[in-house]
C-alpha cells in the first residue's frame, strides 16, 4: 500500500485538481523561497480566476509575476505588491483586485487557518484603512481589530529537504511564509531540492510535519535574487 508516501514525479500530478476560481496560498518572501516550478505549472495549466494569497506577487517574468501575463489571477491578497509593471497596469485597468494585508496579519491569518482558529484580535491596523469594515474591541484598555483566518484550496510551498512522508525542513530565510502556507491548504504541495530517506530528518527539527502535506516533488530551482548586495 502507498501508506504515507507522498512523492509524485511530475509537476502535472503535483498540481492535479487545480481548477478555475480556486484560492492558492503560496509561500515565499520576495523571490526567496518561492515554489517557482509549481507556479510555472499553474501557468502551463492556464487556470483562470485564481485568488492568490502570498506576501508578494513576484516580479515581471518570474515567480507569481508570470501568472499575470495571461491574466490568471483575479485577486491578490498580499502585504506588498507592485514590483512589476504588469501588476500595476492590471490593477489600474481594474482587471486585478488587491486586498492589502499587513505582513504580520497575513502570516497569522495563514497560521490561524491551518490551526482551526477562525478569527483573532490584533492591534495591527487599528485606525488605518485596514480597519475599514472590521470590528474593533477593547482588551485591557487597548483597541484591537478582529481579523479572520485564511485557508486555500491549494497551498504551494518551497522546502529544502523532505522525506517521502512529507516532513519538510526549510533553508535559512527561505522558510518565511512557507510553513504557514503548508498548514492552510486543503491540498498542500511541497517542492523541494532534495528528497531524503525517511528517518533522516531529526524529528524535533522538522519545520513542517508530514500531516500537513499531501504531495511532495523534487525539482531544480533557479533561485533568482531580487537585490544582490555584497560587501567589498
Amino acid at each position: 500500500m502507498a501508506g504515507f508516501d507522498k512523492v509524485v514525479v511530475s509537476y502535472e500530478e503535483a498540481m492535479s485538481g487545480l481548477e478555475d476560481g480556486m484560492t492558492i496560498i503560496a509561500g515565499g518572501f520576495g523571490l526567496c523561497g518561492i515554489p517557482e516550478n509549481l507556479i510555472a505549472e499553474i501557468k502551463r495549466r492556464q487556470t483562470k480566476g485564481l485568488t492568490v494569497v502570498s506576501n508578494n506577487c513576484g516580479v515581471d517574468g518570474f515567480g507569481l509575476g508570470i501568472l499575470l501575463e495571461d491574466k490568471q489571477i483575479k485577486k491578490m491578497i498580499a502585504s506588498y505588491v507592485g514590483e512589476n509593471a504588469l501588476f500595476e497596469q492590471q490593477l489600474l485597468n481594474g482587471e486585478l483586485e488587491v486586498d492589502l494585508t499587513p505582513q504580520g496579519t497575513l502570516a497569522e491569518k495563514m497560521r490561524a487557518g491551518g490551526a482551526g482558529i477562525p478569527a483573532f484580535y490584533t492591534a495591527t491596523g487599528v485606525g488605518t484603512p485596514v480597519a475599514e469594515g472590521k470590528e474593533t474591541r477593547s482588551f485591557h484598555d487597548r483597541e484591537y481589530l478582529l481579523e479572520e483566518s485564511i485557508t486555500g484550496d491549494f497551498a504551494i510551498v518551497k522546502g529544502w529537504k523532505a522525506d517521502r512522508f512529507g516532513n519538510v525542513i526549510y533553508r535559512h530565510t527561505a522558510q518565511n511564509f512557507n510553513p504557514l502556507a503548508a498548514t492552510a491548504g486543503k491540498i498542500t504541495v511541497v517542492e523541494v531540492e532534495e528528497i531524503v530517506e525517511v528517518g533522516e530528518l531529526e524529528p524535533s527539527q522538522i519545520h513542517t510535519p508530514g500531516i500537513y502535506v499531501d504531495r511532495v516533488i523534487q525539482g531544480s530551482f533557479e533561485k533568482r535574487i531580487e537585490k544582490v548586495t555584497v560587501r567589498s
Binding site: 518572501f29 520576495g30 523571490l31 526567496c32 523561497g33 506576501n55 498580499a78 502585504s79 506588498y80 505588491v81 507592485g82 514590483e83 500595476e88 490593477l91 489600474l92 492589502l100 499587513p102 505582513q103 504580520g104 496579519t105 497575513l106 502570516a107 497569522e108 495563514m110 497560521r111 490584533t122 492591534a123 495591527t124 491596523g125 487599528v126 485606525g127 488605518t128 484603512p129 485596514v130 529544502w160 533553508r171 535559512h172 530565510t173 527561505a174 522558510q175 518565511n176 511564509f177 512557507n178 510553513p179 504557514l180 519545520h207 533561485k223 533568482r224 535574487i225 531580487e226 537585490k227 544582490v228 548586495t229 555584497v230 560587501r231
Partner: protein, 219 residues
C-alpha cells in the same frame, strides 16, 4: 545646518543600548547599523524571519536563501536564529523587540504615523510597517522635517491614511529630536547650527520649546 542622512543615523544610534534587539526599516534606519557604539552589542531583527542580521555577504558567500526584509542578500551573525514569518511577527507584535526605527511621510501630535499610502498614487502595500508600529513600545521615526516644497511633516493631524494610531513617541528629523507628550511635540535637541526659529517655522503641529534646547553632539 540640517543633518545628513549619515548624521541622522548617527543620532539614532545614540539611542541604542547594550543588549537591544532592534528592527531597522529601509532607508536611513538601515544606516543606523553602521554606528553601533564601540563595545556595545545589538542584534538586528529582520521581519522576514531573521534575528541576528549580519553584514552583506561577499561574492563567495552570496546565498539566494539568505535575505533581509529589504530583499537584500545578507549574512547571519553567530547566535542568530531563523524562523517563520508568523514567529517573526509574534516577536514584533508581542512587544519583544526593544527598538524599532522606521521612516514616515507624516507624524502628528497624537502619535499617529502615516508612512505607506499616498492617495491617487499607486499603493504598493504596507509590508510589515503596521505590525511594527502597533507592536513596539519604543519607536523612533526618522524623516526630513519638511517636504522638498517646504511643507511640514510634523502635523496636528496626519493628512494621509495612517500606518498606526497613537503609537509614536520619538521623532528624529534632519533638524531636530522631538518627543511627543500630551498631544504636543516637545523639542528636545536641535541639529548643530539650526535655529529654534527654523524648527518652529517648519513644525505645523503644536510645538513646546523648553528654555534650554541643546544642540545634538556627535562623537
Amino acid at each position: 545646518m540640517a543633518l545628513s542622512r549619515e548624521q541622522m543615523a548617527q543620532r539614532v544610534a545614540q539611542e541604542l543600548r547594550d543588549g537591544f534587539y532592534v528592527n531597522l526599516g529601509i532607508g536611513i534606519p538601515t544606516l543606523v547599523a553602521n554606528y553601533v557604539p564601540e563595545g556595545m552589542d545589538v542584534m538586528l531583527q529582520s521581519e522576514n524571519g531573521l534575528l541576528g542580521m549580519g553584514a552583506f555577504p561577499t561574492e563567495e558567500t552570496l546565498d539566494a536563501d539568505m535575505i533581509n526584509a529589504g530583499k537584500q542578500t545578507v549574512t547571519a551573525v553567530a547566535g542568530a536564529s531563523i524562523f517563520s514569518s508568523a514567529e517573526s511577527f509574534a516577536m514584533i507584535r508581542g512587544g519583544h523587540v526593544d527598538l524599532t526605527v522606521l521612516g514616515a511621510f507624516e507624524v502628528d501630535v497624537n502619535g499617529n504615523i502615516a508612512s505607506w499610502m499616498i492617495p491617487n498614487k499607486l499603493v504598493k502595500g504596507m509590508g510589515g510597517a503596521m505590525d511594527l508600529v502597533a507592536g513596539a513600545d519604543n519607536i523612533i521615526v526618522t524623516m526630513t522635517h519638511a517636504s522638498k516644497s517646504g511643507e511640514s511633516k510634523l502635523l496636528s493631524n496626519c493628512s494621509l491614511p495612517l500606518t498606526g494610531k497613537g503609537c509614536i513617541k520619538k521623532v528624529l528629523t534632519d533638524l531636530a529630536w522631538l518627543e511627543i507628550e500630551n498631544g504636543c511635540f516637545v523639542l528636545k535637541e536641535r541639529a548643530p547650527g539650526v535655529s529654534i526659529e527654523e524648527i518652529k517655522e517648519k513644525t505645523a503641529g503644536e510645538l513646546i520649546v523648553p528654555d534650554h534646547v541643546p544642540e545634538m553632539t556627535f562623537a
